[in-house]
Symmetry: C2
Subunit: 336 residues, 2 copies
């Protein structure tokens, strides 16, 4: 066996350096600026207002982190930052990183307190208000959150559009649809499918705009409502992406029962997020996301595929299975 | 070419989650507790005061991050966390992580401001006081800092003890010696060498204790002084580990000239830290460390091997070369 070296621990422990560099670059809209074309250190510094002491290390650190390229003194986006971090492209996923920068980085500074108390460290900690109420009451913050959700979901959404046996079904309802990225990609890949996005009324305009931009205004519609107060709209397939982990066990079970009631015999419930592996030892991102729910929400937590299959069977589903999507994301499908 | 995927960007942008989990684990002294032997979730929760909502995700995240092992419901240190993060072992490197947790994580939250202003965001920003004066005025904070420096230096120190041609020299002076880990490892590997640690007077007791614990009290001694106000003590080899990057260019050049004056013809100056590659595109840690100097100090910055060789030649050294040590660390050796 190789002698243990401390490098792994030092790199992990100072990992917030690299993370914050990317988050600040998104805050400066650096990648959006560079989507106009490669630029020199001087031009970028002047455009973004970077101080001479800091600018070169900042940009070169982004080169070393594979977020920029540098050729002949000109900095340019990588293919990945060009596609995913230019605000002017529909493929922009920076919303999550904007939210991480503006909110989560600071909240996570209180992780030790959260671990001791079990209490959230977000806006929700101030008087224990429902964090979604806070979020939905401010249109700018809401739009930012909805874009963030698109950011974290895009890769999985495209995998679901490909992998799920859509030919067996005619209608699909996306619960907690946000911008509608999941139902949009499913509908784009399956021209015979009718889609519905279900979310709180303030989400409507953001959803409609996104659906129209994707040319699906006739086939994908918005159904306003609350999954607490209203039944889930009926459909052959009900989808919940990054919804269940926000809530405590009682609410999770309530939502699964409502989904069961919304689908016909032969229909399916598709739940997806960073499903933790059953041994709880491999999917670091899923486990960290669960701690993020601790930081963010009064009762939310992530869970394993076995956990979710158990809840589905309790609700009456005849069969259920887990299928990997991309990266840390998997879906659990329950068949009625 | 593979289509770009956003996973890399999302993982990097949320990298502070994993980082903060390790930092909080060090704060809880989890690895020191587990050095007593493997323990159950319940036992650890009770010992550390972890809330039931948070404890399991926290520990399992550490398993998935390769910082803990879990067998039959008992959590245990990995070989690496057992050796490097148990406070009761001399191999403890957690000082840096304690400092990162208590100070740097919060300061880095203001990275965007630092990039705009070029101003430090540490204690040094409050009235622009010398950060080292602040540090050295509080014995507890000083001891924590000195242990932190040992933590970040250990691997490189052992490589220097092996790699440098010590047989050619009789005396070595370590400038800014802190706990003395570098001169201790050099002396342990080279029984004929006489060592001197040079640092401010408050460092003396911490240094003497460390040298004595390593059985070198007769051969390695402390020389109190300031490299601003005093000459560097004379020796065949002068070493500066993680010193030059703390200071602006003028001070860097002054220190290299003082080292030149301290060594005889045929002697050598050994400078080491996270030397940036000459293309400034590979050593991400070195570039991030330079941004850490922006956050921490009024004028510090890291630099490439070519930069350092240039400064050495200006000071009169006849020859100089760069040699890689471990991970992001390299040494630059100047020959007089």
């Amino acid at each position: 066996m190789e002698a243990p070296a401390p490098d792994h621990l030092l790199k992990l422990g100072t990992g917030f350096w690299a993370s914050k560099v990317l988050l600040s670059a998104v805050e400066f809209e650096l990648f959006t600026v560079l989507a106009e074309g490669p630029q020199t250190l001087a031009a970028i510094s002047s455009r973004l207002g970077l101080h001479p002491r800091a600018a070169r290390d900042f940009l070169d650190a982004l080169v070393a982190l594979n977020c920029l390229e540098r050729n002949d003194g000109h900095y340019a986006n990588t293919p990945s930052t060009e596609l995913f971090l230019d605000k002017n492209k529909s493929t922009y996923i920076g919303g999550l990183l904007e939210m991480a920068n503006a909110r989560l980085y600071g909240f996570w500074g209180n992780l030790t307190t959260a671990l001791r108390t079990g209490e959230p460290q977000s806006e929700a900690s101030r008087g224990g208000e429902d964090p979604f109420k806070v979020l939905y009451s401010d249109p700018d913050r809401l739009r930012n959150f909805l874009r963030a959700m698109t950011g974290i979901s895009r890769g999985a959404n495209m995998a679901i559009a490909r992998q799920f046996p859509w030919n067996d079904y005619k209608t699909v309802v996306d619960v907690g649809t946000a911008q509608g990225d999941l139902v949009v990609h499913v509908a784009l890949a399956n021209p015979d499918l009718q889609g519905t996005g279900f979310d709180l009324p303030p989400v409507g305009p953001v959803f409609e705009e996104y659906v129209t931009a994707n040319g699906l205004a006739g086939r994908v519609r918005f159904n306003p409502g609350s999954f607490f107060d209203d039944p889930i709209p009926k459909g052959d397939v009900v989808m919940m992406g990054h919804i269940l982990h926000d809530w405590d066990l009682e609410t999770k079970n309530m939502l699964i029962r409502k989904a069961y009631d919304a689908i016909p015999a032969g229909g399916a419930l598709l739940v997806y997020e960073s499903i933790i592996d059953d041994d709880r030892s491999q999917n670091a991102f899923g486990l960290l996301m669960s701690l993020n729910m601790l930081i963010e929400t009064p009762g939310g937590f992530d869970y394993t595929g076995a956990d979710c299959i158990g809840w589905m069977k309790e609700a009456g589903f005849r069969d259920a299975r887990v299928e990997h999507l991309v990266g840390p994301e998997s879906m659990v499908i329950g068949f009625k």
